[in-house]
């Protein structure tokens, strides 16, 4: 895992990615919730404009670079250091904010310690509300419950403000009640 995260950091340092943040189940795992089943590593990215200007596919330069390093496609994923990675464009306003405000967290692996960018839990929960699938609701509930039962890590006022700002009040009320 740390090798995959190191590659993401290299892509950012080399300017192929302007900024990235982990997403999905793996991002949620950095908070005090129990492990949940997942098969890929979702990564939100801002692609550097100068790299994408000449191509219709904004990810083209990134994919070419990873291909030149020997990483191969399997279905929708690029297998980077043993992990299927899916790059997702950070386009929706709340996702842009999530990536911009992501915090640096340590991954202490078997081989090395790597710093990676993880969205604040409030933004992860907002993204879960937007996605709205059963697994998103389950993860939302895990984070909500973990915050209530253990040492608090959620800024509930920030979450409420974000929910109001992006118009997910009804679903939010339903999910925190269920």
């Amino acid at each position: 895992m740390e090798a995959t995260l190191r590659i993401l950091n290299e892509l950012e340092q080399e300017g192929l990615i302007e900024r990235y943040a982990l997403a999905g189940a793996m991002a949620a795992m950095f908070y005090p919730i129990e492990p949940v089943s997942t098969y890929d590593l979702d990564v939100f990215i801002f692609v550097t404009p100068k790299r994408s200007a000449l191509s219709l596919d904004p990810f083209n330069g990134l994919y070419e670079e990873l291909k030149s390093r020997g990483y191969e496609w399997q279905d929708l994923y690029l297998i980077i250091e043993g992990i299927p990675v899916q790059f997702l464009p950070a386009e929706k306003p709340h996702i842009v904010e999530a990536v911009q405000t992501a915090v640096d967290m340590e991954y202490k692996g078997e081989l090395e310690t790597v710093i990676t960018h993880v969205p604040r839990a409030e933004y992860l929960m907002l993204i879960m509300l937007d996605a709205g699938r059963q697994k998103d609701k389950d993860r939302f509930r895990l984070l909500w419950r973990a915050d209530a039962e253990g040492p608090s890590f959620l800024d509930r006022q920030l979450l409420a403000d974000l929910v109001s700002k992006y118009g997910w009040q009804k679903k939010y009320d339903e999910w925190i009640r269920s």
């Binding site: 005090p32 492990p35 089943s37 890929d40 078997e110 081989l111």
Partner: protein
């Protein structure tokens, strides 16, 4: 053990899982992937089990279960 004690014990175990360091959570995720892959494959769903070095999932579970076992044997 009555049903309340079992429920409480499960809650404590989940709480210990939640507090694991991230690399140990990843080890448990990979262990789940290994167990689920044949089942998913039989249903026609292809998954890629992560090929990464991780701590032993069995050791992690054994360690987490230890305080509970000690308490029960008292």
């Amino acid at each position: 053990m009555n049903i309340e004690q079992i429920a409480e014990s499960k809650k404590k175990f989940r709480s210990r899982l939640a507090r694991l360091p991230i690399n140990e959570k990843v080890a448990l995720i990979v262990s789940m992937q290994r167990r689920n892959a044949p089942i998913l494959s039989a249903r026609g769903v292809r998954v890629h089990v992560w090929q990464i070095p991780t701590p032993s999932a069995a050791d992690i579970i054994r360690r987490l279960s230890k305080p509970q076992q000690t308490k029960t044997s008292d």
